[in-house]
């Protein structure tokens, strides 16, 4: 996303092009947002409905949360763009260690 766009040599044209590109991207962001709201609604409804067992609901809403967070990170925070290699590496490592930590605290502490 940096300044890799081709330069036409004409600043006015470049700006038009960039404007359009940004607008396009903004449209995608709004769609992403709609999806996130939708996922949130499903999660809340699944819990409010009371017809499902916990064995279904818990993994289901966790999955929804993970999907939503991926949207948030990759689109709202632009992690899908170029120039995010180091952030990705460190976020993935952080998530791995976060996972191991939580796994530990849900398994091998005394109850």
């Amino acid at each position: 996303m940096a300044n890799e766009q081709l330069n036409s040599g004409n600043p006015r044209v470049d700006i038009e092009y960039r404007r359009k590109k940004n607008a396009e991207e903004m449209k995608h962001q709004v769609i992403t947002f709609a999806l996130m709201i939708f996922l949130t609604l499903i999660a809340f409804v699944a819990v409010a409905y009371e017809g499902f067992t916990g064995w279904f609901i818990v993994p289901f809403i966790l999955l929804l949360a993970v999907v939503q967070v991926i949207f948030q990170l990759f689109y709202f925070m632009h992690m899908s763009h170029e120039g995010h290699e180091a952030p990705k590496l460190f976020m993935y490592t952080g998530v791995l260690i976060a996972f191991v930590t939580i796994l530990c605290y849900t398994t091998i502490i005394w109850w």
Partner: protein, 209 residues
């Protein structure tokens, strides 16, 4: 100093948040900080999961007695929306539209304040209606620490963004403050990321039992 140079729509770069070395450093450093924050919040989540519903007496409230859908739903919607408004702000920053950026950030701050207000109401409600306090049980300690840490992050983010809005209101966008805005918006999104897990793990899973 060239970072403070007056910019125009023509000279404004496509990625103003990463134009100078300082900006690149700030950008990367902040992402790394978020990597560390991930582990920090994971530790708090882990503590909460270990101590959930762990109370000394059987007459004390548990997660399923405390949480109610409407309030959490409202808080979630407010915070998610504030994430979108800060995306809008960054969209206008890229288009060098300073006024609109400030307005959208202002809306973000208002939504954040609303969220914080609801959280304070919520905590107050638990304390006075249920006697569920920070010191009443391990469950209480863990709950208030996790959600409170998130709340403190929200409060800090509000102070930060407000400072940015006021500090730069007179001088407009330049390559010195654009990365500051960008990084603040990253922080705000990260707060949202944490909240997604809080409403799922703490509230929804708490209501499931």
């Amino acid at each position: 100093m060239h970072v403070e140079e007056k910019m125009t729509v023509e000279t404004w770069p496509a990625a103003p948040e990463k134009q100078t070395l300082d900006a690149k450093n700030k950008f990367l450093g902040f992402w790394l900080f978020l990597g560390g924050e991930t582990v920090l919040f994971a530790s708090l989540f882990a503590t909460y999961l270990a101590l959930k519903d762990s109370v000394p007496r059987s007459d004390m409230p548990l997660a399923k007695d405390l949480f109610e859908i409407p309030l959490v739903f409202a808080m979630t919607m407010i915070l998610l929306t504030s994430s979108l408004t800060s995306v809008y702000a960054m969209y206008h920053m890229k288009n060098f539209n300073f006024k609109k950026m400030q307005v959208w950030l202002g809306i973000t701050v208002i939504l954040g304040l609303a969220f914080l207000g609801l959280e304070i109401y919520e905590f107050n409600h638990y304390v006075h209606e249920f006697g569920h306090t920070f010191t009443s049980s391990a469950f209480g300690s863990a709950f208030y620490t996790l959600v409170g840490f998130h709340g403190a992050h929200v409060a800090f983010g509000l102070l930060w963004i407000t400072t940015l809005i006021i500090r730069n209101s007179k001088r407009g966008l330049n390559l010195y403050n654009a990365p500051k805005y960008y990084v603040a918006s990253l922080y705000w999104h990260f707060i949202d990321v944490v909240w997604v897990f809080i409403f799922t793990v703490v509230y929804l899973m708490g209501m499931v039992g």
